[in-house]
Amino acid sequence: MRVLIVDDSAFARQYTKKFIMERYPDAEFLFAANGEQGHEMYLVEKPDYIITDLLMPGIGGQAMVDMIRLVDKGSKIIVLSSDIQRSLKEEMAQLGVLEFINKPLNDENGRVLINVLEGKSNAHSDAKRCAG
């Protein structure tokens, strides 16, 4: 499994990687520090999953997700952000994001992340709840 992690904090990128590696030791990781890099990397590398923050310098996560979803409706994107506004979650659900997880990553919401990566159907629950 190849995962692209997009976040402007080096610590956050590595922390997320560590979290996933505990469950998937063989996973391959790619990193980007902002929206533009994330977009480029996606186009070139075509990872299986993208895990992205929203508040980043440059075009930001939302614009990046928009651009990727525009060309690839099959892309699997998980948002990991400290922004908890309902309206934002709804917007991301409309964009077709698989899941919206609140930072920080802990045992509880980490389980949600793992579920998505395992392709479990519960994965859409939060996104559906937001859109509904």
Binding site: S9, A10, K18, S81, D83, I84, K103
Partner: protein
């Protein structure tokens, strides 16, 4: 002294806390507000006093101070300090009227009430996030607001042996910016608890 990796982790933790606060605030007042944390300093309690904060470079000459005290396993005070003249800009922005100048007549009662409420929400969010991070249940004292920062010199607010995270932050409104300072005053043992948690998180990570 923190290592670069610890600093990185601390910065990310604070960014997340600020992000949660800002989005709560945004949702509460239905306005677009972004809270930044550009600079974080770690200072000993004894190094900080009202005089040092009153200096122009912090832009908090005539200031409003809001405070919440928390404990017990994780113990300290959290404060937001805002310049009084800019505070009315912030208060009005929350109501959807954006002024671009501060008012000379000072804060009205209504503005003060709005500031009190939004600082309450922000501090609750920041401290609450720390509680979640460290997985401890916190107890809170009542929320205080003061129209000067002179009481900062009282040992009860910044004990000399405490460790203080000084966050120079800005509220980004649609047309203007209000700078303020957030102080997270932690007892020595509570600071150690935080660092221990950070070290835990850093285990197995090469940044």
């Amino acid at each position: 002294m923190l290592t670069p990796m610890q600093k990185d982790a601390l910065a990310e933790i604070l960014n997340v806390n600020m992000g949660v606060s800002a989005s709560l605030l945004s949702e509460m007042v239905n306005q677009k507000i972004i809270l930044s944390v550009p600079v974080v300093e770690l200072k000993q309690g004894s190094e900080l006093n009202a005089a040092s904060l009153k200096r122009g470079d912090l832009g908090v000459d005539k200031s409003i101070m809001t405070l919440v005290t928390f404990g017990k396993k994780f113990k300290g005070n959290a404060l937001i300090i805002l310049p009084q003249d800019k505070a009315s800009i912030l208060a009005n922005a929350c109501l959807g009227n954006e002024l671009t100048y501060g008012l000379e007549e000072g804060l009205s009662n209504e503005d003060a009430d709005v500031i009190k409420e939004i600082c309450n929400v922000i501090l609750n969010a920041i401290v609450g996030e720390f509680g979640n991070l460290l997985d401890v249940r916190l107890e809170y004292s009542a929320f205080e607001m003061d129209f000067s920062i002179d009481s900062l010199d009282e040992k009860r607010i910044i004990p000399p042996d405490s460790q203080v995270l000084v966050l120079y932050t800005s509220f980004f409104l649609t047309m203007s910016q209000v700078r303020g300072v957030i102080l997270i005053v932690l007892s020595a043992s509570s600071f150690d608890m935080l660092i221990k948690k950070i070290d835990d998180m850093l285990r197995g990570i090469d940044v």
